[in-house]
């Protein structure tokens, strides 16, 4: 226990921020190391946050509430613990201990003892933090949890995890407590503030912990609610029939919401990745949420996190976005990991760096609350990793990804036009800085999905072709100069140009993403899509490399017509990759770096905190370098350009499904086609050893089947691990 002097100093430190609840909230949020939670009385701050009534910001509403609730707890405690603490009182009753009446106090006590034993088992296994294992602490935690369960019989009783929500609260209250008796005995006793003596009175430690815990549980209770498994299901001999629908427990619903709604809006790529590798969000979110992140971070750090959460949002609604912020912080690691590694990352969250402790997730969450979209997510990703996500998509486009088939269809219906109508250029303003990243991202993403080789081949081809073009026209092209009076105009032109290019890339990304979601189920179609994507990327590349070229727009009907013609031709020959029309464009080689620099850097300035132009130029100049290196030997290729590079690069090779490991693949091969996302180009054979993401996924699925597939394929039920009969290898090119 602290000395009286220290307690007073801390009380004062807290009081200076206590003019209103808002003041205290701001102080806790922004004051860093001098936060009243750290330099003052943390328990007092928590009391203010949890007990202040909505709309009643008068300074002492919480204090009043505290007094009333203390009284109430005393009564309940006495009532529910009467026979537990005084078993001899039972014998004084004139009730038969063996009476069959379930309401007999004897029976109640026996039942209570079972509950208490269950609680005690967890209390004894509390983490080795603070003073959790002191006897008096253990007894108080047990009693508080027990009384809580008795007071709230409708809430399903004690649930594992509640003990780890209560323990920190009790610890915090206990730390600040002041022995009132000893202070009144001392000389200074009279001068002490009555409010302080009352608020942190040592004799109410247990009461106050119960009160704070109960207030917290008002909002946290739903994390623990579980509906009973219905027992109505008739006995069956297979899991597919007897498998119950996933119970609609609140925590599972909330986990789904976080993944499928929040994260989907903020970082659709990551959301799709988690879906793709089949990590169910509740697997890791249950612990994150139920324990309010207390197992994910070291003791002192999660207390600061709790300070911030309670200050900002005692209703705990914000934790959805806190979870998202945590996912964003490790999104790059997650994106390059397979099932096992992802799960390990999520179940053993990497410690955040010193400068950005766990409480900064709350700041991130607040930002996300106001920017619940891909650009908002991208801003945070950039902030902590220095990298922009591959695609920053609007919510609208993100939703389209969710339905891969319609997405594919819509892309196909448009024909494989090189240029797509620009629906709303302003919508894509924020994407400008990421153009190069987007292209790079397409590569990175497809790499993970196993279509890497195909796509890389395609893009490599494009680069080579471009090089050929550049060599054919060797006069250096004048740069775009942003001169004084022409600057504004040039900027506007560039801006529009960027918009157009960005929207085109968005289309491409959409189609590739839809492709990834479709799991390459239709090989021929997938090839088409990749080809079209390659063509589009090439188109953008050409226009990026030569800033002087006008993108055909509605204002220039002739080029528009040419474009349409090109589109039509492509429709007819979708198997042919980039049409030769592009070569007919008045192309001039130009330093990619120089030409694209102004473009992109201007876009950057729009974005404010986005990359500096040099960073963006680098990949471009690298690309230019790379292309010039192998330009000579590829000259021939560039002449006979549209030779469906993608198709060439994908020879018929046996898939894993046809290999000796085929039996480890998911059993529902006979169901909806789920061709494993394995690279099919020759080099992927060498890469297979590293390709654990897909392998693991498939291997892991061995014997398992998503419930919905099961329902459609009841034949499976009798299989041994769903493996009999041997899954026939999926028809190639199905």
């Amino acid at each position: 226990m602290r000395s009286l002097a220290e307690t007073q100093a801390r009380w004062q430190a807290t009081q200076t921020h206590c003019a209103s609840v808002e003041d205290l909230q701001n102080a806790v949020r922004h004051n860093g190391p001098s936060s009243p939670c750290l330099s003052g009385c943390r328990s007092v701050c928590w009391k203010v946050f949890l007990l202040s009534k909505d709309g009643d910001n008068t300074k002492l509403s919480w204090s009043q509430s505290l007094g009333e609730k203390r009284e109430s707890y005393s009564e309940r405690r006495d009532h529910f613990l009467k026979f537990i603490n005084h078993p001899e009182a039972l014998t004084e009753l004139t009730i038969d201990p063996l009476a069959d009446d379930p309401k007999s106090p004897w029976n109640t006590v026996r039942e209570d003892e079972v509950v208490r034993a269950e609680i005690l088992q967890d209390v004894q296994r509390l983490p080795d933090e603070a003073n959790y294992h002191e006897d008096y602490m253990q007894r108080m935690i047990l009693d508080i949890l027990f009384v809580y369960c008795k007071v709230n019989p409708d809430r399903g009783g004690y649930r594992q995890g509640m003990h780890e929500l209560l323990a920190p609260i009790l610890h915090v209250v206990e730390q600040d407590a002041l022995d009132r008796e000893s202070t009144t005995a001392s000389d200074e006793g009279d001068s002490l503030e009555e409010l302080m003596l009352e608020t942190i009175d040592q004799s109410f430690i247990e009461h106050d912990a119960f009160i704070l815990f109960s207030q917290l549980m008002e909002h946290a209770q739903s994390f623990y609610e579980v509906k009973d498994v219905p027992n109505s299901s008739p006995p069956t001999d297979g899991p597919s029939q007897s498998r119950f629908p996933e119970q609609s427990s609140a925590i599972v619903e909330r986990s789904k919401f976080i993944h499928e709604v929040c994260l989907q809006k903020i970082d659709p790529e990551l959301a799709a990745h988690l879906t793709g590798i089949e990590i169910l969000p509740q697997i890791f979110l249950i612990r994150w949420i139920r324990l309010l992140f207390s197992r994910e971070f070291p003791f002192n750090q999660f207390l600061v996190l709790w300070d911030t959460i309670l200050a900002v949002d005692p209703s705990l609604d914000l934790i959805d976005l806190v979870c998202c912020a945590m996912l964003l912080r490790i999104r790059w690691q997650l994106l390059e990991s397979d099932y096992s590694v992802c799960l390990q990352l999520l179940l053993k969250y990497p410690p955040p760096d010193q400068l950005h402790g766990p409480h900064t997730f709350v700041d991130d969450a607040l930002y996300l609350r106001d920017h619940m979209n891909a650009p908002g997510g991208a801003t945070l990703i950039k902030k902590y990793s220095g990298r922009l996500p591959n695609v920053q998509k609007s919510t609208q486009s993100a939703e389209r990804v969710n339905s891969p088939l319609p997405g594919l269809d819509s892309i196909r219906k448009k024909g494989f036009g090189l240029r797509s109508p620009i629906r709303s250029p302003s919508k894509f303003l924020q994407q400008q800085g990421g153009v190069e990243n987007m292209i790079q991202g397409v590569l990175e993403k497809s790499e993970k999905l196993g279509i890497n080789q195909a796509l890389r081949d395609a893009v490599g081809e494009i680069k080579r072709n471009m090089q050929g073009l550049n060599e054919g026209l060797s006069s250096p092209y004048p740069r775009v100069v942003l001169a004084d009076d022409g600057a504004a105009k040039a900027l506007a032109v560039m801006q529009r140009r960027n918009d157009q290019l960005a929207s085109l890339l968005e289309e491409t990304v959409m189609s590739l993403r839809a492709l990834s979601v479709s799991n390459l189920e239709d090989k021929a179609r997938s090839l088409d899509i990749i080809e079209v994507a390659a063509a589009k990327v090439q188109f953008v590349q050409i226009y990026l490399q030569d800033a002087s070229m006008d993108i055909p727009t509605a204002d220039s009907p002739t080029s528009e017509e040419a474009q349409l013609a090109a589109d039509k031709r492509e429709d007819k020959e979708i198997k042919k990759a980039p049409p030769p029309e592009k070569e007919n464009q008045p192309l001039s080689p130009v330093s990619a770096t120089n030409a694209s620099g102004p473009n992109l850097s201007k876009a950057d300035s729009k974005l404010g905190d986005m990359k500096k132009s040099e960073e963006i130029q680098d990949p471009l100049s690298n690309a230019a370098e790379a292309t010039s290196n192998d330009s000579k030997k590829e000259e021939v290729l560039s002449e006979g350009q549209p030779k469906t590079p993608v198709a060439v690069s994908i020879p018929a090779r046996s898939t894993i499904a046809q290999s000796s490991f085929s039996w480890m693949l998911e059993p529902e091969e006979s169901g909806p086609p789920q061709t494993p996302p394995i690279g099919k180009s020759p080099t992927s054979q060498q890469k297979r050893r590293n390709n654990n993401a897909s392998r693991e996924k498939n291997a892991f699925l061995f014997g398992e089947a998503p419930a919905e597939l099961d329902e459609r394929d009841p034949l499976r039920s009798g299989d041994i691990f769903g493996m009999e009969p041997m899954p026939t290898p999926p028809a190639k090119g199905k």
Binding site: R243, V252, I283, R287, F702, M723
Partner: protein, 212 residues
Amino acid sequence: MANDEYDFLFKVVLIGDSGVGKSNLLSRFTRNEFNLDSKSTIGVEFATRSIQVDSKTIKAQIWDTAGQERYRAITSAYYRGAVGALLVYDISKHQTYENVTRWLKELRDHADANIVIMLVGNKSDLRHLRAVPTDEAKGFASENHLSFIETSALDASNVELAFQNILTEIYRIVSSKALDSGDGAQATIGAGTNISLSKAADDEASKGGKCC
């Protein structure tokens, strides 16, 4: 996850009442660690370890969850794809043994019908507190066609063996079943993985259909 090479990946779940030592069995097997005050499992824990059986690398993906929850929030995700289950009770707490039947029902309801189940009496070091006689549990296990073993995560006895046994059993079933199935598939398996036909057949014969 360097040198993450394996021939088989088996998901095995740990089930049983709260406090019987599931998490310590997991940590003993995967990290050779034991913690007397291990925290209650909230949600799910997960660890992997690879072992060799018949010169094949078998990667065991072992899932551990809270005993109290009975997975109601995560049931299907937990059992999904599991090919083995260690059903653990505490030999010093009879109630945990009595609840084994409830856990078997849980498995019947949620897991694959052919999941390999091993009954594990943990805390065998607590000899003086034994509440469940070995023979009784052994009898129960054979009645219900379960394998049976007593372990102590604390002194590490039989932990390795328990996992070895169940993984080997799964492996045997998987390889023999693979061979039993259709002709085309058989050819593929035989050619690709070099599973010796005779060996696998022997194994199957020796098992005599006792499993499953």
